[in-house]
């Protein structure tokens, strides 16, 4: 529906015309762009509903799978996690309308093919150091499914580590995963330990571990990991 500029003409008898006050070129531009943006929003919304579950009004795991297959990306691909981050999605496996809009608007896409094409750029954005910490902590929290849950089981942590840090810190991730699987002190990992590992990857020389100081406040699980590594190496 068109919104007439009030100053276009003084046509009388127009029942839907708005305030007949003077306007400027910027008003014209704004009108045009908001027209476009509302069109875009419409397309975004329609796209949402094409994947959403009829009864819940949300995109559920099934919907995400079909989205992924349309984009020709595996649903376990890290870029889907990055998309969730961009959307600031709260619940793992689900996107609601608000989140969907947020994400797609920020990416400036409104079709599946545009979304697919935006993924490389999204990945670059996420991997920028200023963003990556946020993404890294987000990915942990995204996996907390129960209400009061604060930790994630070892098996899932290993998968998540591989997904999120595998490309950047292959060696550290591989060894740490190996360690986590054989140790028995911890059955779950919490956010503090999760973040600690990231700091470890960034700060500690690997695999020599020469600058690791066990007297500093590293999470205990990392103290134990380093001890294990050192025992392996000797």
């Amino acid at each position: 529906m068109m919104r007439r500029s009030a100053c276009a003409s003084k046509k009388t008898g127009q029942p839907n015309s708005t305030n007949p006050i003077s306007c400027s070129p910027s008003d014209l531009f704004r009108t045009a762009s908001s027209k476009a943006s509302s069109k875009e929003m419409e397309r975004i919304d329609n796209l949402f509903y094409s994947f959403a579950n009829r009864s819940s009004g949300m995109i559920d795991p099934e919907g995400i799978e079909s989205l992924c297959s349309d984009m020709e990306v595996d649903h376990t691909d890290v870029r889907i996690l990055m998309l969730a981050w961009k959307m600031k999605a709260e619940k793992q496996g689900y996107f609601n309308l608000e989140e969907w809009r947020r994400g797609l608007k920020a990416l400036r896409v409104d079709t599946v093919s545009k979304l697919r094409k935006a993924l490389p750029e999204l990945e670059k954005e996420v991997r920028r150091p200023s963003n990556f910490v946020d993404f890294y902590s987000y990915s942990f929290c995204y996996c907390l499914t129960e209400e009061k849950q604060k930790s994630i089981d070892i098996e899932s942590i290993c998968q998540l580590l591989d997904l999120v840090l595998g490309s950047q810190f292959r060696a550290q991730v591989d060894y740490f995963i190996e360690y986590l699987k054989i140790q028995s002190d911890y059955k779950v990992i919490n956010l503090d330990q999760w973040m600690g590992f990231f700091r470890f990857c960034n700060e500690i020389s690997f695999p020599d571990l020469s600058n690791y100081d066990p007297d500093l406040a590293w999470p205990l699980v990392l103290d134990n990991f380093v001890e294990w590594m050192q025992a392996k190496q000797s």
């Binding site: 503090d192 700091r199 007297d215 500093l216 406040a217 999470p219 205990l220």
Partner: protein, 475 residues
């Protein structure tokens, strides 16, 4: 002049310092002290040699399995050693403070080499308070208790001692086996002076319960005296949960003969103390049974509650199978087997006979009343024995419970410190926590770290965003 020969004099094979110590040659030692004093490192040399000798022999003692078999003997040996060195320092080394300190630190070093030391010291005290101090003058009692306190001070794990002491004290109080109430209380006072009110408040609670129970029983007998007549005489100790060592709840069906009076007591007590709950601790009681055997020999048997339940069954039957006994009494298997073993397999106390006559109790055994039982004593004690050193698995269990108890103490210390300091680095937290808890135990730095992490998870603390060594208190 002495300086050049100092080392040789000290190390001489058969007459060196160590030999003098071993043979208690006070005069020679005194002379050596006097001489070496004039030389700048003379006393240091004597002290160092003596210290390493004490540490080595102490270490040997603490790690020798033969020595550790008898805890009472072992602790006596420790006390004797202490006496010996004290005497050397007083008579030969002029009570030199530095020597005293060296002695103290050596003892502290080796006593804590064995994790069972706290238990053994408690067992020593238990033995003394049960029988060892019988007939000893008050003065000598105090002397011994002071010496025990000295050993106690050397312990790093005072909380472990507390646990065992509580267990052993409970047994003594409940079996009425304490040689001297005054001695018991005197030791509690000494512990309180050493460790503060918190350490002894529960122990004192146990004494209070005993006294209160006496009063309760008086009241009960006064109001029900006439009802009892011929029936069994009941004596109840009401224990406040929390003051006494925790006991697992055990099933056990009391014999009909005493159910009546037990109910009467329960009603009496709950009548005067509303809002309380009573549960019979059948694994802690004792009973005196009058028994008549085959040829009319009468004996008074002092037994545990479990043993009473089993024996009473033989009023109505001459032989019973294990399964039947188990079914009727509902005593847990492990305890029942131990109970039956003490009634049927111990020489001089076998008021029951077992078929077959094997050593161990099995499900298929049958038990008979042993009317051929004889004993030269009228009163026979078959009840469970005095406190004994724990078996390995029991010891592990106690260890675990101690570790569990320490966790909240460590956390409380961390929170107290962080609340006051707001921001603190890791090493300092560890140091402060250790200082705060040193009167009870030596916390493991790894455990402290774990507790910090747990507190971070529960959002009591957070890591500082800038300086990774720091923690912050979250209000």
């Amino acid at each position: 002049m002495i300086e050049s020969h100092m080392h040789r004099l000290v190390q001489m094979e058969n007459s060196g310092l160590i030999n003098m110590i071993v043979d208690e040659k006070y005069e020679d030692l005194g002379r050596m002290y006097y001489l070496f004093r004039r030389v700048s490192n003379g006393l240091v040399l004597i002290r160092d040699v003596m210290t390493s000798y004490i540490r080595d022999t102490g270490k040997q003692l603490l790690t020798d399995p033969e020595r550790l078999k008898d805890p009472v003997d072992f602790v006596q040996h420790l006390l004797d050693l202490k006496d010996k060195y004290d005497k050397i320092i007083t008579s030969a080394f002029r009570n030199d403070k530095t020597f005293q300190n060296a002695l103290n630190s050596s003892f502290e070093y080796f006593i804590n080499l064995n994790s069972r030391s706290p238990e053994f010291i408690s067992l020593f005290v238990d033995d003394k308070l049960r029988k060892g101090l019988r007939g000893v003058t008050e003065e000598d009692v105090e002397l011994l208790l002071d010496k025990v306190m000295m050993l106690f001070r050397y312990l790093q794990e005072k909380d472990v001692f507390e646990k065992y002491y509580k267990q052993h004290l409970a047994k003594r109080l409940l079996s009425g086996k304490s040689v001297s109430d005054d001695a018991e209380r005197s030791l509690i006072v000494k512990l309180k002076t050493e460790c503060g009110y918190q350490f002894t408040s529960k122990l004192e609670g146990m004494f209070t319960d005993m006294k209160t129970s006496q009063d309760t029983m008086q009241g009960f007998h006064a109001s029900h005296g006439s009802d009892i007549g011929d029936g069994p005489m009941l004596s109840v100790q009401v224990l406040t949960t929390g003051s006494w060592p925790t006991q697992p709840i055990t099933t056990c069906k009391l014999p009909a003969e005493i159910l009546g009076i037990c109910e009467k007591f329960r009603n009496y007590y709950l009548g005067t103390h509303t809002g309380r709950r009573l549960s019979w601790q059948t694994n802690m009681g004792t009973a005196d049974l009058k028994a008549t055997f085959g040829k009319g020999q009468k004996h008074e048997l002092n037994v545990s509650t479990y043993q009473m339940c089993v024996l009473m069954l033989f009023n109505d039957a001459d032989r019973l199978s294990y399964k039947e006994i188990e079914q009727v009494t509902e005593i847990p298997t492990f305890d029942l087997k131990r109970c039956l073993q003490s009634l049927a397999c111990v020489k001089g106390k076998n008021v029951l006979r077992k078929e077959p006559m094997s050593k161990d109790i099995v499900d298929t055994d049958t038990f008979l009343f042993n009317d051929k039982y004889t004993s030269k004593f009228f009163k026979v004690k078959i009840g469970t024995v005095a406190a004994q050193r724990e078996s390995e698995p029991e010891n592990q269990e106690t260890r675990q419970r101690v570790e569990e108890d320490r966790k909240p103490q460590i956390e409380a210390a961390i929170v107290r410190i962080m609340k006051a300091r707001r921001v603190l680095d890791h090493n300092n937290i560890v140091a402060e926590v250790t200082k705060q808890l040193q009167s009870r135990f030596l916390p493991n730095p790894v455990v402290i770290k774990k507790r910090i992490e747990s507190l971070i998870e529960r959002e009591f603390l957070e890591r500082d965003k800038g300086d990774r060594k720091l923690y912050r208190y979250l209000a």
